[in-house]
């Protein structure tokens, strides 16, 4: 597996998405030598994903946006160098293409016209390199998040690219999945000489594997560039200020007086949850959610945490046991799933794992207005709340943008903001902090903390240990059922 590593050159390069007034990336001057291993950092919305998509030749033509300056991969326009560049994205589900493991890995080779006799050895080698010891005809649909990411990596490796791009490959994974992918990547880097660029907000995961750190500035150009040591130690404080997660400069969480003894808001006894009638995913759950307290639900992917969140949020009926929210029901039945939608929105807010499911409007501004309007909040008060959330979550420059076109981190912040502005008595959040840079993380935690101080209760399903440290009063940990994985 010895592809020829390629160089990356940017000269005054920039890109503006067609439907945006400002440039996502601008004034970029950069040379990455063949075989270098780069960690690409920058605040949320700084244009990291845009740059990586450009390098993979996926940005489209004049209709998609405006390009300035010059970007070269191996001395060529990236659109012509496709196939020599491999890209792994954040979302494990949207990268599976075919139904069988072997076929999925072979897909890229087929497209490159690699002769059949050569494809299968490459497939086996790639699967071996990422440590995915599955039969070639294993179905891809039942794989865990970490396995899917390694599958995507294998599919890319089999193409033997000279440039390997990873855009937040571990953001959606539980800690076990993160370790899996990082291990696989370390193994791969031992064998290949390919140039390597990875985007990740959490620096610690990749810091040992890279030889260079480049920080993009949200205003355009490069904020810092050098060896991990130089950049992370010498400039750590400044970078942390601009939103980069730097080990040793973790964002400070607001001080909270823990152990506030609020009144119970929601109580579950022997609760059984599941998405289908009669198909119980988890049972015997006992918990109490109280005003001014945070309950964190942690555990591996696929253990029913999100299903519990949906049930507590009144979006799925309980399959057994009792769920009692009479404290905030105000005369309605005790079980939240019996409430009408507009009664629900002012009492229990839910933030879904996938923010895209939740968008119902065409612009960010309209999206934020939906909840308060449904809850019957008076309009002056509504705009006051919206302005405050927009300000703190740095969404101000995006008010006219279509929610679907936001960057990963921006989408997450918008979905949290839409739930915050209805001031629910209980807020259920599924992975509230994924894709956040250090600064937006801090603001998010501060906002939630303020909400707690005002007497709301919080349930958060999360893999984020820092978040648990910062906010959780109680932790409910879901472990894997025996024999899984």
């Amino acid at each position: 597996m010895q592809p020829r590593p390629v160089a990356v050159d940017a000269r005054g390069w920039g890109w503006r998405h067609a439907d945006r007034p400002g440039f996502a990336v601008s004034g970029l001057d950069l040379r990455i030598e063949p075989g270098e291993r780069v960690l690409l950092l920058g605040a949320s919305g700084a244009g990291k994903s845009t740059l990586v998509a450009a390098l993979a030749g996926l940005l489209g033509d004049e209709e998609a946006g405006e390009e300035i300056g010059e970007l070269r991969v191996d001395g060529r326009n990236p659109r012509d160098a496709r196939g020599g560049v491999g890209l792994v994205l954040q979302d494990p589900d949207s990268q599976v293409i075919l139904a069988r493991v072997g076929d999925d890995v072979a897909f890229g080779c087929e497209n490159l016209g690699v002769p059949r006799d050569e494809i299968w050895p490459r497939v086996r080698e790639a699967l071996d390199a990422v440590g995915l010891a599955l039969p070639l005809d294993h179905p891809t649909s039942g794989l865990s998040g970490g396995q899917k990411q390694r599958l995507a990596l294998a599919g890319v490796l089999a193409m033997r690219p000279g440039l390997l791009l990873l855009d937040e490959p571990t953001a959606n994974l539980d800690p076990l999945g993160v370790a899996e992918v990082r291990e696989a990547m370390a193994q791969v880097l031992d064998r290949t000489r390919a140039t390597f660029i990875v985007i990740e907000h959490r620096v610690a995961v990749w810091a040992d594997l890279v030889t260079r750190v480049i920080v993009l500035s949200p205003g355009g150009g490069v904020l810092a560039d050098g060896t991990p040591d130089q950049v992370l130690r010498a400039e750590g404080a400044r970078l942390a200020e601009s939103g980069v997660w730097v080990p040793g400069f973790e964002p400070a969480a607001p001080a909270r007086d823990r152990g506030a003894t609020g009144t119970p808001v929601l109580e579950a006894r022997g609760l059984a949850v599941g998405r289908e009638r009669r198909v119980v995913i988890r049972e015997g759950i006992d918990l109490t959610v109280s005003a001014s307290r945070t309950l964190a639900v942690t555990g591996s992917n696929g253990t029913g945490k999100s299903t519990l969140g949906l049930t507590l949020g009144g979006l799925l009926p309980p399959l057994g046991g009792t769920l009692d929210a009479s404290a905030i029901a105000g005369g309605l039945p005790a079980e939240p799933h019996r409430w009408r939608s507009r009664d629900l929105v002012s009492r229990i807010g839910s933030v879904f794992q996938d923010p895209e499911h939740q968008f119902v409007a065409a612009t960010v501004a309209a999206e934020l207005a939906v909840g308060p309007k449904a809850a019957g909040v008076e309009s002056a008060e509504a705009s006051r709340r919206i302005d405050a959330a927009v300000e703190r979550l740095r969404l101000g420059h995006l008010l006219e943008a279509n929610p679907f076109t936001l960057s990963g981190g921006e989408k997450r912040r918008l979905s949290v903001a839409t739930a915050l502005v209805t001031r629910p008595a209980l807020l259920v959040l599924d992975e509230p902090t994924f894709g956040q840079d250090a600064r937006t993380w801090r603001e998010l935690v501060a906002l939630l903390s303020a909400l707690l101080d005002e007497g709301s209760a919080l349930v958060a399903v999360t893999h984020d240990a820092a978040f648990v440290d910062a906010l959780a009063d109680d932790v409910l940990s879901f472990d894997l059922p025996v024999g899984a994985r």
Binding site: L58, R82, G83, G86, L87, L89, D91, S94, Q95, V96, I97, L98, A99, R100, G102, D103, A106, F107, G108, C109, E110, N111, L112, G113, V114, P115, R116, I119, D137, P139, S141, G155, V156, M159, E276, L310, G314, L315, L316, R340, S341, R342, L344, S346, G349, S350, F352, D354, E356, H357, Q358, V360, V370, G371, K373, A374, A375, F404, A419, T422
Partner: protein, 262 residues
Amino acid sequence: MTADLLTPTAGPQLIYRINPVAKMAAAFLIGLGVLLSIDWVSASVALACESVLLFWAGVPPRRLAIRLSPVLVGAVTAAFMTALYAPESGASYLNILFAHVTAGSIELATATFARILAVGVPAVVLFLTVDPTDLADGLAQVLRLPARFVIGALAAVRLVGLFIDDWRSLERARRARGVADRGRLRRLLSQAFALLVLSIRRATKLATAMEARGFGSSAPRSWARPSSLHRADVVLMLIGALIAAASITVSVATGHWRFLGT
């Protein structure tokens, strides 16, 4: 319960080793023989031959029975309605209001029943035993359909399986956002629109993932899994043609042949 349409179908039996294109061709030929004439003889001959063929090819009977039950229900219903309401001819057996059961209508009902089954059985077998990936391979390599189109369609099939999940998620999400109380029709319409938007998003993401792996480049594609017709495939297609010929011949010989109902 995501209907995962792409989950590989496989088994040790002969039927799984036949090229999907050959299976389709055989089913098509048999169907043609049955559909050309509306009579009970040609359909029954085809049905009898199919049963023998299925037994010999090793289709799992339990799964077949389960999947076949809707076809069976449909066939019985259609036959019943035909018996009651078809134009009367010949001896009359029953006469209530508009329902006339006559010798002619019973014959037509039998024909309807046999024809639905004769066409339905091969269709269900195809559905049960054809793996979508193998079918795509066959369509592209055997029938030489454009690879871009075939592979694109194959990838899209997976998205169809996600529709049901997406629909439910959207339902919950809209409830959580406070916009789910509106009139039923308005709610359904706006949710359907949301599903459309989401599906386009998914399709775009999938297209990006495929492009990132070199799909749609100008380089000629190679095929990791060869798909070609072997002797067994040709034999199956011949059998299909034979069944069609037999059903037509017997029907004509016994004087039951009615070309397209004339």
